[in-house]
């Protein structure tokens, strides 16, 4: 084999590959800016406000959700009651009861997807199966998902659940009544419509925030002075009022930074730099050390 000719060949191809890689890098960065489908935050989308002080724990919301979204009941041992313990592959929302240790204070709390303005699950999903709809809801396309479950690992509220007991499992979580068409028709989600006490209210996020603050102002004795979801993780579309501390109800303490922001630097800046930098470095190293080849 003619070694010298080969090396020149190599060089040519190496040069071409550098060009190719640079183009790819450019394309990736450019398309990263245009790609909006899964990740376009909605500023004032539809929201719901849950007022724990008004909730009587009737669980009409829970049953309405099952009917609207075709989810089977999770029966208790007697087989008479629908009694889910937690969110699950069959349960998108449920009412839980919090009781303090001395039993003196208690509160109901509704568990469901928080519909973050900038959701970690949507940033996590490699395929864009989880996405933000134009109404602000976080919805799921089961035809795209391949079941990596990274959304479950990254959601700080522990909302996405999996259908562990089937051979064709999908992610299950509240989609704000998007897939059943209610939200697109402008109807409130089934759970809100079913609520008999007004503990659940539907509206735009700004309307409901104003409403929530009004309630706190009108009855400061009744509420913890905090609207959960106003700022947490950059804000959510599910907003909460409570008479007991939110930690007691199982809500995590989060700062105002949206979770996807934590990966902006490694993903949007470091990756293109790696592509350009490592290619340049490798080609340069190849050229510089070419003369110092070991005898072997």
């Amino acid at each position: 084999m003619g070694k010298k000719i080969n090396r020149r060949e190599f060089l040519k191809i190496a040069g071409a590959s550098v060009g190719g890689l640079l183009l790819t890098a450019g394309a990736v960065t450019a398309s990263g800016k245009e790609e909006v489908r899964p990740f376009k935050p909605v500023t004032d989308g539809y929201a719901m406000l849950y007022d724990a002080t008004l909730c009587v724990g009737c669980r009409a919301c829970q049953n309405a959700c099952r009917r609207a979204n075709n989810k089977p009941a999770e029966l208790d041992p007697t087989g008479l009651y629908d009694a889910p313990n937690d969110l699950s592959g069959d349960t998108w929302t449920l009412i839980k009861l919090y009781k303090s240790e001395d039993g003196q204070t208690w509160s109901f709390v509704k568990r469901q997807c928080m519909h973050c303005i900038e959701p970690a699950c949507v940033a996590a999903c490699p395929l864009g199966a989880l996405h933000i709809t134009p109404t602000g809801a976080v919805a799921y396309d089961k035809n795209i998902c391949f079941g990596c479950r990274y959304c479950m690992v990254s959601c700080p509220f522990g909302v996405p659940r999996y259908e562990w007991d089937t051979t064709t499992p999908y992610i299950q979580k509240c989609d704000f009544c998007t897939s059943n068409g209610r939200l697109d028709r402008g109807e409130p989600p089934a759970c809100v419509e079913a609520c008999p006490t007004g503990a659940l209210v539907f509206g735009t996020r700004s309307e409901l925030l104003a409403e929530a603050h009004q309630r706190i102002e009108a009855h400061p004795d009744r509420y913890v002075d905090h609207v959960y979801g106003e700022h947490e993780a950059g804000g959510t579309h599910a907003l909460y009022l409570s008479g007991v501390p939110f930690e007691d109800l199982g809500f995590p303490q989060l700062d105002e930074k949206p979770l996807p922001e934590s990966i902006k630097i490694p993903l949007d800046y470091a990756v293109p730099s790696i592509i350009v930098g490592m290619t340049t470095f490798s080609v340069a190293a190849y050229l510089v050390t070419r003369g110092e080849e070991d005898k072997s």
Binding site: L21, D86, L127, I274, M278, T279, S282
Partner: protein
């Protein structure tokens, strides 16, 4: 030009070790069938409170880090022209390829809908670190297969194809370096987005950098470990000065890793978390003392590097430290419910490893893995 591996071929015996490997592979096969026919819930102990388990920690995270020797040795031999390392190139490319195949296969079994594993080719979320990992791992496994095909074509005597692959080898190696830097670091980015779940002992925004550096150190160390194991298995002479030099490079990478790990640990408030949870603190101390500091001191000593057994032990500790680190980040220190893998989870993991060793042995017997190429 066609070099066969007759000398090694002659030593074929049905030893206890070989039977054990076939047994594990069979266990893996049964487990794989069970997993695919009965679903994730029936075959694993994964749950809503522990969505990722053994397969992600050992086969994907640790396995891919330990297989980083493939791109580093490629860079050393083909890019930096240090041809004296050539004897290590082929066996390392082969083990790296097997490592990535195991990683990809375990992702296949871990996916809820495995037959959709090709979806990243069609559906893209460019903002997801996992998308980047998926695309890089797919591409890089192909790159490793092409790098390895040179050996296969050489063994088969297919000279035209052999020359064709040879002609694009340098761009392939460069592509391998770029892709590896990308996905080795992005595996760390996975746990930046889900940082709230990671124990403060390991939680830092610098995880991508730490994952990359530790992968390079582990990759270099694994070359040393595997060279020792291969020398024993095939009664080959060990080129100790060559491995010693590799050990020195590993030492420097490990030093940079240790400094950045220490700095980011203090910066992100890890000190305050020490002792908060005794079990995690213990795991952390074992990782940094046994897996980083002791091998660091060892590898910087020329006496250790020149001693076959001591260098092997130091390199083994580095690999162990990185393996433990990946488990600490993704399993032990990751918030979730208690979890013990099932027989099927162990079966698939151990079976694939056994299968990889058997395949390595097959390749060594039939293709010029240890022979000098051109």
């Amino acid at each position: 030009m066609t070099v066969s591996a007759k000398t090694i071929s002659a030593q074929r015996t049905l030893s206890w070790g070989r039977m054990l490997l076939w047994g594990l592979a069979l266990w893996g096969l049964v487990a794989a069938i069970y997993r695919l026919t009965n679903g994730l819930g029936a075959s694993t102990n994964l749950s809503d409170g522990r969505p990722w388990g053994l397969w992600i920690s050992i086969d994907v995270l640790a396995g891919i880090a330990l297989a980083a020797g493939g791109f580093t040795i490629g860079a050393i031999v083909k890019i930096f022209h240090m041809k004296r390392f050539y004897p290590l190139l082929r066996p390392t490319i082969l083990t790296a390829f097997l490592g990535y195949v195991i990683g990809a296969a375990s992702i296949f079994f871990d996916l809820g809908l495995p037959w959709r594993i090709w979806h990243p080719l069609v559906y893209h979320n460019l903002h997801s670190p996992l998308f980047e990992v998926a695309v890089c791992v797919m591409t890089y496994t192909t790159v490793l297969a092409l790098e390895l095909s040179e050996v296969v074509f050489e063994g088969l005597g297919w000279r035209t194809l052999r020359r064709l692959v040879g002609a694009i080898m340098i761009p392939l190696v460069i592509l391998g370096i770029v892709l590896s830097t990308m996905h080795q670091s992005s595996l760390g980015t996975l746990f930046v987005l889900s940082g709230w779940r990671v124990s403060p002992l390991w939680r830092t925004g610098f995880l991508p950098l730490l994952f990359f550096l530790s992968a390079v150190a582990a990759g270099l160390s694994m070359i040393i470990v595997e060279a020792n194991l291969a020398a024993r298995a095939y009664h080959k002479k060990l080129d100790q000065p060559l491995l010693a030099e590799l050990g020195k490079y590993a030492a420097w990478v490990l030093l940079v890793y240790a400094i950045i790990k220490a700095a980011t640990f203090v910066m992100s408030g890890g000190l305050a978390a020490l002792g908060e949870n005794l079990w995690l603190t213990l795991l952390f101390l074992v990782e940094v003392i046994v897996g980083v500091l002791i091998p660091l001191v060892m590898l910087f000593s020329a006496r250790v590097r020149e001693d076959r057994h001591l260098l092997f032990r130091a390199a083994f500790l580095v690999a162990f430290g990185v393996l433990l680190n990946r488990f600490n980040v993704s399993l032990f220190g990751l918030k979730g419910v208690a979890y013990v893998p099932t027989w099927a989870e162990w079966g698939i993991t151990l079976g694939m490893m056994a299968g990889a060793i058997l395949f390595f042995d097959f390749m060594v017997r039939h293709f010029p893995i240890f022979e000098k190429g051109h």
